[in-house]
């Protein structure tokens, strides 16, 4: 137990908590101080996350770091544990890496649009990190609520009837979901007598009869909550309205919030429902629900007139893809899905922020009008030759390039990481038959078809939006864009480029992650045998007493 490295595990929760609380003491007029605290905290968070990532990936010497942190030094099944393994470290890094550009973007303009932006932003990060780290179901609920409470405030940041209306519906849906979460958690506690995920995985084999039914029902209700968060059809009608109403940097960071649901589903389905009698609980729901979500998202992408809604439906396509692919429960495909998750989160984050810059030069109703005109074909053709000779302004060139990059990423075309991700998943799926010496099941072909179609739809939609915005600008005004707003978008796109170049090591990491997840024994042993600080010998593996 080498001291400071072990304590790093709690840092992703404590840093934003302290920063967020500290920020409350400063008046809104001291904007520079607030911005400084927020930036320092987020950078520290990123440093910690990357360090944990390195440790979880086997750096820092074997045995020195077991990735388990006992809160209050209580032994495992009784106290709450925080656990860092490859998956949670990956999610921590992803959250921190998305948070930095979103924060920098917000500093240019949006953080001044309402009160307490920075505090809420830090609390959102705290909730996210806590949800990724915790090894206890009820603690997960608490961190979910922290995250959601912050997101309610952030969604309505900037105010206005649109945002408040979207916020109202978003809060109502999430409050109802939170109540379902409690029902699920208590049903699991009632049947298994534990809330510790590792302990639950150990005990699930011994539970029989009616109690197993109760447990499975509880798990299913819990699953519904995470599917609401992840946006599975038909539980996703709240998402497009909420995400497109949020201000750009907030929508950017929300890109990872829908991945929290997916993270928990992945974690629980492989840890608790990986083996034994309840193995594969709800996998079919994920598979077919995911497919329906891809189809719904694809139609939405094609039908969207405003760019904000286009991006929101892209979130749904991304969630649907992940859910359907996780429903296949195949190691190789899941590794591809993890890669896709990283890539699509960065892409959608960048896209949400880019949209606001692009739309700044337009009238609010202009894009809707343009589509209507396209449909009826009565755009006046006479004015065309007036502007020949006007060179393309630099801002438009940069914005256009970023827009094209987002289009390529969303549709999964080479050379960027969206292609690598889809290719990895498709290879895994088509290869499923080859390894098992059976024909590939029909559902897999459906997913393959839907994936390719959703890419095509994204391409069509992005091309249409791009032409309308950059080639046939109705207003002809160049949006005023600050470097501080452009840089975060470019940074995120550059990250996807890095992900493409480093696709080999990244895929290797994902495969290793999935291999770890498929052997829940390692996770369980690490948690149950976690040594208490200041206690010489490890407590026995059968530490969980009857209740």
């Amino acid at each position: 137990m080498s001291g400071w490295q072990q304590h790093l595990i709690i840092a992703p929760i404590v840093i934003p908590l302290i920063a967020g609380a500290l920020l409350l003491f400063f008046d809104e007029r001291q904007r520079v101080v607030k911005a400084m605290i927020s930036v320092v905290s987020t950078l520290a968070l990123a440093a910690v996350a990357i360090n944990l990532f390195r440790l979880a990936n086997g750096g820092g010497g074997a045995g020195a770091f077991d990735g388990v942190y006992l809160l209050g030094n209580w032994p495992a099944p009784f106290g709450i544990v925080l656990v860092v393994d490859r998956l949670s470290a990956l999610m921590l890094v992803l959250a921190a890496i998305l948070a930095i550009p979103a924060l920098v973007y917000a500093l240019a303009r949006w953080h001044a649009a309402g009160a307490h932006f920075h505090s809420l932003f830090q609390f959102l990060l705290m909730g996210l990190n806590g949800a990724f780290l915790t090894g206890d179901l009820f603690n997960l609920f608490v961190f979910f609520e922290v995250m959601l409470a912050a997101s309610y405030g952030l969604l309505m940041h900037g105010s206005g009837p649109m945002r408040v209306k979207a916020g109202l519906q978003y809060i109502a849906v999430n409050l109802a979901a939170a109540l379902c979460f409690l029902i699920g958690v208590s049903a699991i506690y009632g049947s298994a007598g534990t809330l510790n995920m590792a302990d639950l995985a150990l005990r699930i084999g011994e539970i029989e009869g009616e109690r197993r039914m109760l447990l499975e029902a509880g798990a299913a209700i819990l699953g519904v909550v995470f599917l609401i968060k992840a946006g599975m059809w038909p539980l996703n009608f709240w998402l497009p309205g909420a995400y497109s109403a949020a201000v750009a940097p907030v929508a950017g960071i929300f890109a990872i919030m829908s991945k929290v649901g997916i993270y928990v589903i992945l974690r629980l389905s492989l840890l608790v429902f990986g083996q034994g009698e309840s193995a594969g609980l709800g996998l079919n729901v994920l598979l077919y629900g995911g497919m329906a979500t891809i189809a719904f998202g694809t139609i939405g992408v094609l039908a969207s007139q405003a760019l904000g809604r286009l991006a929101s439906y892209s979130v749904l396509v991304s969630s649907g893809t992940l859910l359907a692919v996780l429903g296949l429960s195949n190691g190789e495909v899941t590794a591809g899905a993890l890669f896709y998750m990283v890539s699509s989160t960065l892409t959608i984050g960048a896209f949400f922020m880019l949209i606001e810059l692009v739309e700044r030069g337009q009238d609010a109703g202009a894009s809707v009008l343009a589509v209507t005109m396209e449909a009826y074909g009565d755009a006046d053709e006479e004015e065309q030759e007036v502007e020949i000779g006007v060179t393309m302004p630099g801002t438009i060139a940069v914005l256009g390039t970023c827009f094209a990059a987002c289009g390529i990423l969303l549709s999964g075309l080479p050379p960027l990481s969206g292609f690598v991700a889809k290719f990895a998943m498709l290879t895994g799926m088509i290869g499923m038959g080859a390894s098992a010496d059976q024909p590939v099941p029909a559902s897999v072909w459906w997913i393959v078809g839907l994936l390719i179609l959703s890419g095509l739809a994204a391409l069509i939609s992005m091309t249409r939006a791009g032409i309308r915005t950059f080639w046939a600008s109705m207003e002809g005004t160049v949006p005023r864009v600050l470097v501080m707003e452009m840089a975060p978008v470019m940074l995120l796109i550059a990250l996807t480029l890095t992900l493409t170049i480093k696709a080999g090591p990244a895929m290797h990491y994902m495969e290793e992650t999935v291999r770890n997840l498929q052997q829940p024994r390692t996770y369980i042993d690490a948690v149950i045998n976690a040594r208490r600080a200041g206690v010489a010998e490890a407590s026995g593996p059968d530490g969980g007493g009857g209740i």
Binding site: V142, S159, V164, K165, L168, I171, A178, I183, V185
Partner: protein, 112 residues
Amino acid sequence: MELVLAIGIGIMTGSGVWLILRPRTYQVIIGLSLLSYAVNLFIFGVGGVKSNAAPLLGEGVDVSTLTDPVPQALVLTAIVIGFATTALFLVVLLAARGLTGTDHVDGREQPK
């Protein structure tokens, strides 16, 4: 006692679900409150319904005479969080009423 508790939870859940499907924001918030009461009682119930039982383990005490302290701790947390989020929702509800001029959840009245 279990039966009374179960019926009570059921009635509150049913009323709550009906209310959150109504178009007025006030009905929604009352529905959510009723649902949260039902859920709190449910959490309380999963530990087994006992009266006059202490949750504290001591030397030589028969475990069957004790009540399970964990659901009680959970329900406390759930009450606090539910209360805070309901209060937050109430503020948003008032803001929406002020901004849109109607208490319909869609922010505009249905055309008659």
